[in-house]
C-alpha cells in the first residue's frame, strides 16, 4: 500500500513539473502574439510605442487603416480578387492533374511524374526574373493579372496531396461504372469528384490562402506600383518606408492583427488537413 501511495505522490510531483513546463511553453509561444495585439491599441504611433507603456488604449489605429488616403482597403480588395480567381483556377488544375496521375494509365505517366519531381528541385523563385521578363513581353508586368497568372499557371505541379487522396478511393467503383458504360470523364465528375469533397475543400482553402501570405512573387511582379499591391506585400513594405515607420508605426500592428484574424481562423479550422498533407503527401510523393 505504502509503495502505491509513494508512486502516486511521485507521479503527482512529475505532473506538476510538467504543468509548469507547459505553462512556460505556452507563455513563450503566445507572448509575441499577445504583444502584437497589445501594441496595436497603443496611443503612441511611433517606434517609441514598443518600449513605453501606453497612456490609454485606443482603436484609433484601426480607424486610421480605413481613413481617407490609406491604401489598406485597396490592398485588401486586390488580394481578395486575386485570391478568388486563384482559388478557382488552382483547384481545377490540381484536381485535373491529380485525377489523371492517380486513376488514368497512359504511356508517359511515369515520365511526367519524374519530370515534375526534377522541376520541383529548382528553387521556386530562381526563375522569377525570367517570369518578370515574360510578363513584360506581353505587357502584363506590374499588373494584378500578371500576378494571378504567376500564382495559377504552375499550380498543376502541386498535385501530390490530392493524388494521395484519390489513391485511397476504391478502384472497384471505377470498374463498376465502366462496365455500365461510363466514360472516363463521366467517372471523374460523377463518381470521383462527389466523393472527394474534403480534398476539394482543402485545395480551395489552400489556394485561397496563398495570395494572402505571399510577398515574394508580389515584390518581383508588382515592384513599386503601390495601388496594385496585395496585403502581405503592403505590410512588408510598410516597415521599409522610412516615413511610415516614424509616423504610422503602430498602424502596421493594427493592420497585422486585422489580416491575421481571418488567416488564423482558416488555419485552425483546416489544421487536420494540414497534417494529412505533411505526412501523407511526403510518403506518397
Amino acid at each position: 500500500m505504502a509503495r502505491v501511495k509513494s508512486m502516486k505522490k511521485k507521479t503527482k510531483i512529475q505532473n506538476t513539473i510538467i504543468y509548469i513546463f507547459l505553462v512556460l511553453l505556452s507563455i513563450i509561444w503566445l507572448i509575441p502574439i499577445a504583444y502584437i495585439l497589445f501594441i496595436s491599441f497603443h496611443n503612441d504611433n511611433s517606434k517609441g510605442a514598443m518600449v513605453t507603456m501606453p497612456d490609454y488604449l485606443t482603436f484609433q489605429h484601426y480607424i486610421n487603416l480605413f481613413a481617407k488616403g490609406s491604401q489598406y482597403p485597396q490592398w485588401f480588395l486586390n488580394t481578395l480578387i486575386v485570391a478568388l480567381v486563384t482559388m478557382v483556377i488552382n483547384t481545377f488544375f490540381v484536381m485535373a492533374v491529380a485525377y489523371t496521375m492517380s486513376r488514368l494509365r497512359f504511356k508517359s505517366r511515369k515520365t511526367l511524374m519524374s519530370i515534375n519531381l526534377i522541376l520541383g528541385m529548382f528553387p521556386g523563385f530562381m526563375s522569377m526574373i525570367a517570369i518578370y521578363n515574360i510578363l513584360k513581353l506581353v505587357k502584363l508586368d506590374q499588373t494584378l493579372v500578371g500576378l494571378t497568372l504567376c500564382y495559377t499557371m504552375t499550380s498543376g505541379m502541386g498535385f501530390y496531396v490530392a493524388k494521395g487522396f484519390f489513391d485511397t478511393i476504391s478502384r472497384s467503383l471505377d470498374e463498376a461504372a465502366r462496365i455500365d458504360g461510363a466514360t472516363n470523364a463521366q467517372i471523374f465528375y460523377k463518381i470521383i469528384l462527389p466523393l472527394s469533397k474534403p480534398i476539394i475543400v482543402y485545395t480551395l482553402v489552400q489556394s485561397f490562402m496563398g495570395p494572402w501570405m505571399d510577398y515574394i512573387f508580389c515584390n518581383v511582379i508588382l515592384r513599386n506600383k503601390s495601388d496594385q499591391w496585395t496585403v502581405a506585400m503592403g505590410m512588408y513594405k510598410w516597415l521599409n518606408t522610412q516615413e511610415k515607420v516614424n509616423t504610422q508605426f503602430v498602424d502596421f500592428f493594427a493592420g497585422s492583427v486585422l489580416i491575421s484574424i481571418p488567416i488564423m481562423s482558416v488555419f485552425l479550422a483546416t489544421q487536420k488537413y494540414y497534417i494529412a498533407g505533411v505526412t501523407g503527401g511526403a510518403v506518397k510523393g
Partner: protein, 526 residues
C-alpha cells in the same frame, strides 16, 4: 559499396568505428553523386532510344505507305483526308501551314537572334547601312540624318529563341505522331477495320484520351511559367546579363563558362569565397533547423501526450496559435522587437549598459578585461526558427505518437528497460521511421528556406568581405533573391547560384532517400 556487416562493425574498437562511420559517409556522398550522374545517363539513353524507335517507325511508314501516306510526309493530313477523316486532316494541314508561317515570319528570325542574343548597344543608324554607330559623329560621315535606336533587346531575344525551340520540338512530336498515324489508318483501311469518324475522335478525348484533355491546360501553364523561365534562367548563367547590360541600357551576349569560372575566385571578396562561406552556413542552418525543430517538437509532443496530463487540446492550441499567424506578420514584428530600438535591446541596455545587436552586427562584450565578439544574428535566427517550426512538428507527430504499438513498451518493460531507453529506442525510433521521408523533404525545405531569414535579418549583418552585398545570415536562396532584386541586380550570378542549388539539393535528396529506412524496407518497422 564495400561495407562491413553489422556484426563486424560492432567488433571494431571504438575509434575505428568512428573512422568507419566517416568512411561510410564519404562513400555515400560519392555514391550519391555517382547515382545522380548515372540518372542523367539513363535518362538520356531512354530519350535517345525513344527518338530512335520513332524514327524507325517513321522509316517503316514511308517505306510501306502508299502514295497518300508518302504525301502526308510533306503535307500533313493528306492520308487522313483520303480516308474520310476530313476534318482531322484539314486541322493537321492548317497546323502545318501555321507552323511554316510562324517559322518564316517569326521563328527563323528568333533563332537567328538566339545565336548571339545581343549584338549592338544603343546607337545611330543610317538608311542603307546595317552598321550601328556608337556615336552620332560616326554616323554623320555616312548619311545626312542618322536615326537613334535602342539597343538590341537581349532578354526578349533570349526568351523568343527558347520559345521557338520549344515550339519546334512540339511540332516535331506532332509531326512524327501524325505521320505514323497516317500509315496506321492506311493499314486499317487495307485490313477493312473501322476508321474513326471525327465525332468518335472527339468522344475519345473524354474517354481513352481523357488524360490529354485534363492535362492540356496545366501542362501549357507549366511550360510557360515554369519550364520556359527555368530554361531562360539556365541560359542566363552563360551570358553577361546584369544591371549594366539590362535592356534599356545595353545588350548582353554569350560568355560561355566564364561565370562558372568565377566560382574559383577565392581572393578578396570573390564569388567563390562568398559561395563557399554561404554554402557552409546554409548546410549548418539546414541541419540545425531540421534537427532542433524535430527533436524539440517530439519532446514537447510526447510531454503533452503523456498519460494523466489534462487539457491536451488546450496546450496544443496554444502552440498552434503562433503558427496560425501569417509568417510575414509574426516575423516582421519579431524583427522589430529585436531591432536596435526594440524593447529587448533597450531594456537590456538600461539594466546592464551593454547594447546587444540581436539581429545586427556582432556584439562586443568585455569579460574579465578581454573583449570578445558574439554574432547574435545567426543564433537568433535559429532560435526564432524553433519558435516558428516546433508547433508544426507537434501537430504532425501527435498522431504518430498515438500509434506507437503499445506491446513494444510492455515487452521492453518486462526486459527491464528504463523510461529513457524506451524513449530513445522505441518512441524516437518509431517516429523517425514514420517521419523519415518527410524529414528529408523538411531538410531540403530548410536548405531553401526563405521567410525566416529574409523577414528577420534580410541576410544581414552585411559585410564587405562578401561578393554582391551578401550578409552573415544569408542562405543561398536569400542571396539569390537579393542578387536579382537588388538595386543593381546581378542576374548572371543569381542563375549560377540557382543551378548550383538545384545540383546540391537533388544530390542531397538522392543520398538521403537511398539511405532512409523507409526506402530500404517499406513495410515493416522492427
Amino acid at each position: 559499396m564495400k561495407t562491413l556487416a553489422y556484426l563486424d562493425y560492432c567488433a571494431l574498437p571504438r575509434y575505428q568505428q568512428f573512422f568507419y562511420k566517416i568512411y561510410e559517409f564519404i562513400l555515400k556522398v560519392i555514391y550519391g553523386v555517382w547515382h545522380f550522374i548515372k540518372g542523367i545517363g539513363i535518362g538520356t539513353k531512354k530519350l535517345v532510344f525513344r527518338i530512335g524507335t520513332s524514327f524507325k517507325k517513321m522509316y517503316h511508314s514511308f517505306r510501306y505507305g502508299d502514295i497518300f501516306t508518302k504525301c502526308s510526309f510533306f503535307v500533313l493530313g493528306i492520308s487522313h483526308i483520303k480516308r474520310k477523316q476530313i476534318v482531322k486532316g484539314i486541322i493537321l494541314m492548317l497546323l502545318e501551314f501555321a507552323f511554316i508561317f510562324f517559322m518564316i515570319f517569326f521563328g527563323a528570325h528568333a533563332l537567328y537572334k538566339l545565336v548571339f542574343v545581343g549584338t549592338y548597344g544603343s546607337g545611330y543608324i543610317c538608311d542603307g547601312f546595317d552598321q550601328v554607330f556608337e556615336t552620332i559623329n560616326g554616323a554623320w560621315e555616312f548619311c545626312d540624318e542618322p536615326t537613334k535606336i535602342a539597343p538590341d533587346n537581349s532578354p526578349k531575344n533570349l526568351l523568343y529563341g527558347i520559345l521557338t525551340i520549344l515550339i519546334i520540338i512540339g511540332f516535331i512530336c506532332v509531326y512524327i505522331a501524325t505521320v505514323n498515324a497516317s500509315y496506321q489508318i492506311q493499314t486499317n483501311e487495307e485490313e477493312g477495320k473501322h476508321i474513326k469518324s471525327f465525332k468518335e475522335d472527339l468522344a475519345d478525348f473524354f474517354n481513352s484520351k481523357f488524360h490529354i484533355t485534363l492535362l492540356f491546360l496545366p501542362i501549357i501553364g507549366i511550360l510557360l511559367f515554369n519550364i520556359l523561365p527555368i530554361l531562360d534562367m539556365i541560359c542566363m548563367a552563360f551570358t553577361n546579363y546584369d544591371y549594366t547590360t539590362d535592356f534599356p541600357k545595353s545588350y548582353f551576349s554569350w560568355v560561355g563558362l566564364k561565370n562558372f569560372g568565377q566560382l574559383f575566385s577565392f581572393g578578396g571578396n570573390g564569388f567563390g569565397y562568398t559561395f563557399v562561406e554561404i554554402l557552409k552556413w546554409t548546410i549548418v542552418w539546414a541541419i540545425l533547423a531540421t534537427f532542433t525543430n524535430f527533436f524539440i517538437g517530439i519532446i514537447i509532443a510526447t510531454i503533452i501526450n503523456r498519460k494523466g496530463i489534462k487539457f491536451k487540446k488546450f496546450w496544443r492550441t496554444c502552440l498552434v496559435l503562433s503558427v496560425a499567424v501569417p509568417q510575414f506578420v509574426s516575423l516582421l514584428a519579431m524583427a522589430q522587437f529585436l531591432s536596435d530600438y526594440g524593447p529587448l535591446t533597450v531594456f537590456i541596455e538600461k539594466a546592464t549598459g551593454v547594447k546587444i545587436y540581436f539581429l545586427g552586427k556582432a556584439t562586443t562584450f568585455t569579460l574579465f578585461g578581454h573583449p570578445f565578439k558574439v554574432d547574435f544574428a545567426r543564433i537568433l535566427v535559429v532560435l526564432i526558427n524553433i519558435w516558428i517550426g516546433v508547433p508544426y512538428t507537434v501537430l504532425s507527430t501527435t498522431g504518430i505518437l498515438m500509434n506507437v504499438p503499445e506491446d513494444l513498451y510492455e515487452s521492453a518493460k518486462i526486459d527491464g528497460a528504463s523510461p529513457i531507453t524506451m524513449y530513445f529506442k522505441i518512441t524516437l525510433k518509431y517516429v523517425v521511421f514514420v517521419m523519415g521521408p518527410s524529414l528529408i523533404t523538411t531538410f531540403i525545405g530548410n536548405f531553401n528556406s526563405f521567410g525566416v531569414i529574409f523577414l528577420l535579418t534580410g541576410g544581414g549583418p552585411k559585410t564587405n568581405n562578401f561578393y554582391g552585398s551578401a550578409g552573415h545570415t544569408d542562405l543561398l536562396v536569400t542571396w539569390l533573391y537579393n542578387l536579382t532584386m537588388d538595386t543593381n541586380p546581378d542576374y548572371k550570378m543569381a542563375s549560377v547560384i540557382g543551378i548550383l542549388i538545384f545540383l546540391i539539393s537533388s544530390i542531397i535528396s538522392l543520398i538521403l532517400y537511398r539511405n532512409s529506412n523507409s526506402f530500404k524496407n517499406e513495410e515493416d518497422f522492427a
